[in-house]
């Protein structure tokens, strides 16, 4: 059936709590009342990037965004816009409001944006496989199954230069090759959707907005390495992602795109979901495997690497959600196309999530190599409230700290590591100069203390001691030897912890100690918090 217009209603965790389901229902009712239901189709969609004021309603082909919409607005939109053809001016979203970045073309002339992994988010109904197929969905899988050998698939991914987007930046093609070459008939593909790095929510938007792209990519990976089963480990905090994945897997099975003999080939593949239970450490790949195996999420020794001995001891590929979302476009448009995006050593795009004290919170997908300055001041609209930038934590607490003098460093895995920083997951937590460095660092360290799995002593006890010292400093009870002690402990936790979490835990502390030593000293020596955040309360108490 042909509809003259499609109306997309945002169905995400954010919008559902603000009445999105009622809005959709009301839209359908009003459209039917006016006899327009043969002309206008109401659909659900994921987030438009991170979204406009929630909930939003998009009208195609007019490209008009209403946001935020309430149930009482619906009647007017239907009568005025759909019936009389006059868009409702006062409800149309105007980008001057504080918002999450919508990254939506007619409204956000962000020329730097380049959508590869977010190609379908907000453009299709993620709960309808046909919409995904209509935008070349599962075409890459069918091409792989009918025209390519597993070796050719791996060669193409290797040639694309795709680096893992979970944070470590390991070449994806190599991972696949190692797993393919590992001995054994039983192999697994695991999608790491345990996105827990504070300030990161890119994977949630991909899963909510385009779940089929992950299923398709996992099947391609399965074909390439010879695996017949895949697991998606999604954090328990993302019920909507889990919901959309469940629907997508069900539909893919119905269409014969999962299961036995996919598309008439000899290749069979199944995808299953496992739900996390609130443990950050399970984002570490071997801890994640332990968790799928029903155990405590405690990291394993490496080597052997998962490519040799992974899930249930079998060779396993573990890829991040964003990494996988790149696979179908690489197959369809070729490695050379992918290499033409980004920098020569770090190809493709990256999704950055802007959080903290910027005007526009949200996410954007841009080619690798963009600078922090562009991200914070052009995309993010600068620092909120006219304050100055103090620091940016890139890649979450376990990533790196960048100061205002480093704003022009190109954002890529290799360039940032040259500055002893890290791209990590692409999270950018912008912190302005009204925040105290002791308070900020303590917040990061409390996070690691809370999330330490307890397996090794440096991480378990070290993070505790550091938080204790920082607490003392912020209460005005710092001692002259504290700075040296903090550095000493930080270095030791870094060099002696068992897994990546522990090794990264002291990063924000050590970097801040070198950038903001004076501010620490003011707390210690003058018992003074330069931005007046710390209470320094004990000092007064002692006097009493």
């Amino acid at each position: 059936m042909f509809y003259r217009s499609h109306v997309l209603v945002e169905m995400t965790s954010n919008s559902l709590v603000r009445g999105a389901a009622q809005i959709k229902e009301r839209l359908e009712r009003e459209i039917e009342r006016l006899g327009l239901d043969k002309e206008i189709k109401v659909l659900e969609t994921g987030s438009l990037g991170a979204a406009l004021p929630s909930p939003f309603v998009v009208v195609y082909p007019d490209n008009i965004v209403y946001a935020p919409v309430t149930v009482s607005d619906v009647k007017r939109i239907v009568e005025e816009h759909f019936w009389k053809g006059r868009p409702v001016g006062d409800l149309i979203f105007s980008p001057s409001e504080r918002r999450e970045i919508g990254v939506f073309l007619p409204y956000f002339p962000l020329t730097k944006e380049k959508r590869v992994v977010l190609r379908n988010s907000g453009q299709i109904d993620p709960t309808n496989i046909e919409e995904y197929i209509a935008r070349d969905g599962y075409l890459a899988l069918s091409r792989v199954l009918t025209e390519m050998t597993p070796e050719e698939v791996i060669a193409e991914v290797k040639k694309s230069g795709l680096l893992g987007r979970g944070g470590a930046g390991f070449p994806t093609g190599l991972k696949w090759e190692f797993t393919k070459n590992a001995e054994g008939v039983e192999k697994y593909i695991v999608c790491n959707a345990d996105e827990g790095e504070p300030g990161t929510f890119k994977d949630r938007l991909i899963l909510e907005g385009d779940p089929h792209s992950i299923i398709e990519a996992m099947a391609i990976a399965g074909y390439a390495v010879g695996a017949g089963e895949g697991y998606i480990y999604v954090r328990g905090e993302y019920p909507q992602s889990i919901n959309h994945l469940r629907i997508a897997i069900e539909q893919a099975r119905e269409y014969g795109l999962l299961g036995e003999n996919i598309l008439g080939s000899s290749f069979s593949f199944e995808v299953r979901i496992r739900k996390g239970a609130g443990a950050y450490i399970c984002g570490e790949e071997t801890a994640l495997l332990e968790s799928i195996e029903g155990k405590r999420g405690i990291p394993r020794n490496k080597p052997p690497y998962p490519a040799q001995e992974g899930l249930w001891g079998k060779p396993t590929v573990i890829n991040n959600v964003e990494t996988l979302a790149n696979i179908p476009p690489i197959i369809l448009q070729g490695a050379d196309w992918f290499r033409s995006i980004g920098t020569p050593t770090c190809t493709g795009t990256k999704v950055f999530t802007l959080t903290g004290n910027v005007n526009n919170l949200g996410l954007i997908e841009v080619p690798m190599g963009i600078t922090l300055r562009e991200l914070i001041f052009e995309v993010g609209g600068g620092i909120r409230g006219g304050h100055n930038l103090k620091l940016v934590q890139t890649g979450g607490p376990s990533g790196g700290t960048m100061t205002p003098d480093l704003l022009d460093v190109p954002m890529a895995f290799d360039t940032l590591s040259r500055y002893d920083s890290a791209l990590g997951s692409g999270a950018l937590t912008v912190i302005d100069d009204t925040h105290c460095i002791v308070d900020v660092v303590r917040n990061f360290m409390e996070f690691f203390l809370y999330e330490s799995c307890g397996k090794c002593t440096p991480c378990r006890v070290g993070t505790k001691r550091i938080v204790e010292i920082l607490n003392r400093i912020s209460e005005g009870r710092g001692e002259p030897s504290d700075l040296e002690n903090l550095r000493y402990m930080g270095e030791h936790i870094k060099s002696t912890s068992f897994c990546g979490l522990g090794q990264a835990a002291p990063n924000p502390l050590l970097r801040s100690l070198s950038f903001f030593e004076e501010e620490f000293r003011a707390h210690l020596e003058e018992k003074r918090c330069p931005v007046d955040t710390c209470s320094m309360k004990t000092k007064t108490k002692i006097l009493i």
């Binding site: 965790s13 954010n14 559902l16 709590v17 991170a50 979204a51 929630s54 999450e100 996105e195 827990g196 790095e197 504070p198 300030g199 990161t200 929510f201 949630r204 954090r235 328990g236 905090e237 993302y238 019920p239 496992r274 739900k275 996390g276 239970a277 609130g278 443990a279 950050y280 968790s291 799928i292 195996e293 029903g294 155990k295 405590r296 999420g297 249930w312 999530t353 959080t355 903290g356 004290n357 919170l361 949200g362 996410l363 934590q393 607490p397 999270a427 937590t429 912190i431 302005d432 925040h435 900020v440 917040n443 990061f444 409390e446 996070f447 809370y450 999330e451 799995c453």
Partner: protein, 154 residues
């Protein structure tokens, strides 16, 4: 928490996951969802049923923050305290909740309705500060908005 009906229901949950190679965590998650916590005798029962040492079952039950071995409130409120929310006022969110509910972090209200917890990143930093009540996420929290939200659950 004893009674034949309960064990029958647990048998049913275990049965649902028998296709899984290592179903322990999935089973505990479902029991948690059903009764809002994992009573000691139930953990013992699961251990015997799956033939997994009780120490291991308890190990898993106490490792994950979503699993509880003590009764929790009908609504578990999880306030995000990580940096993106912290620099947008999550400390005030926690204070407001403590004041409104009359309980501290980690406690359950006397009527058994609310448990207040802090948590790591909920992945909705675009609308910081944020919290979750059971399965539902709330963002852009202010004092007024928190009161509005709590009214929905009271």
């Amino acid at each position: 928490m004893t009674g034949l009906a309960v064990y029958e229901e647990i048998d049913e949950i275990i049965g649902k996951h028998q296709e899984e190679k290592t179903p322990l965590l999935s089973i505990l998650q479902e029991i948690q969802e059903r009764w809002r916590y994992l009573p000691g005798d139930v953990l013992g029962y699961v251990s015997r049923k799956l033939d997994i040492p009780s120490s291991m079952v308890w190990g898993v039950a106490t490792f994950y923050s979503f699993l509880k071995t003590e009764p929790a409130g009908e609504y578990v409120i999880r306030v995000c305290c990580n940096a993106p929310c912290h620099v947008n006022g999550s400390v005030d969110v926690l204070k407001t909740l403590q004041k409104e509910l009359g309980i501290k972090e980690g406690e359950t209200s006397r009527d058994g309705k609310f448990t207040l917890e802090t948590t790591s990143c909920l992945g909705v930093c675009g609308v910081a500060p944020a919290m979750m009540i059971n399965d539902v996420t709330y963002g852009n929290l202010s004092e007024d908005r928190i009161r509005e939200i709590l009214a929905l659950y009271r």
